[in-house]
Subunit: 214 residues, 2 copies
Amino acid sequence: MRTVTAAQTRPTTRGERARARPREILAAARELFARKGFETARMDEVAAAVGVTKPAVYRYFPSKDRLIEALLEEDLAEPARAVVRWVDEHPGPISDMVAGFSERVEQLQSTGLTRRYLMLAMDEAGRRPEIAGFIRREVLAPGLVALARAFERAMTRGELAAGNDPLLMARLFYAPFLQTSLGAVGYALPMDDAVERGHYRAFHVAAFLRAFAP
Amino acid sequence: MRTVTAAQTRPTTRGERARARPREILAAARELFARKGFETARMDEVAAAVGVTKPAVYRYFPSKDRLIEALLEEDLAEPARAVVRWVDEHPGPISDMVAGFSERVEQLQSTGLTRRYLMLAMDEAGRRPEIAGFIRREVLAPGLVALARAFERAMTRGELAAGNDPLLMARLFYAPFLQTSLGAVGYALPMDDAVERGHYRAFHVAAFLRAFAP
């Protein structure tokens, strides 16, 4: 699945319309959920925005949860997989990888739509544990495992001190990024300013490299 | 205000009963909120549990928000202030302080009631930003500032490398603790096992001290 804008989803013939339907529904749901929240937005509002009946929406997405999951897939899981691929293919040195990872996470966290989803997911994680579960399974866990592999390769190349648990290193490296994404929902001390976040990330990356220098 | 158990709140005379009333209400609300959540639990259920009318509850706590705040004050803010005092009075060395801080946070995070409140606060932060605001103002901010002061003193004593921003150090030191408390609500990768958390905290404390060694 690919992210499409409303302008790209203007089919003309009857067959084209039917094929474009799931994308139209996703585009309308994205806009509606981002504006009203997962809980408040209703499936019939999605249907009305697309100009179809509610059963037509349910034909493609059998529940609101499945619709939310399809959106999270496009807007969070796909970009996260691109970061994981980049980490897996990074030849080193590790200092370049951690700095580049930091920039890529910032891109994810500062993009309006992703930032809104992170906030929504956090706000509604209590009522919708399947959202938290999806992010954990599709975004966080693959990211941590890719980082651990990268740290392990860097130990083998002698760029990091040998003998540390790479998964604990990955978790530790990731903690401040979680903290800055939480800032948006107000539970942690907020760090909404991108310059301030950049400063903090650079400070963190340097400290991490010092802590695990050979 | 002090935390009291139900057994301690059995007043006998009419005057004693009136004086004990706020404590009885808090004890009943604590039990009810922890069981049903801040959102679902109703003020008339609190009243029923104490055996008084709803207006009697409102006489002491003019809104549910004020009642929640009184509970968070006793169960989170007071213990947090004790940790802050301990940090402020710690003479060093800094390695002892960070290890001791880590143990104290673990005590807070693993205590059933506090852990339940952290989970509740996270679950309902989206709907009740005043809860997130209270925790930020009364728990997180004072803790970070106390840590920053301690790191600054340790730099002066020559126990940490000079020239680093103590507030950024405090934020960085705190990130993994936030991460382990979040684990409970399922948004971060869970770390519900106390032994696993202890292992992670020790790993983090050692890495932090290496990163900022003189």
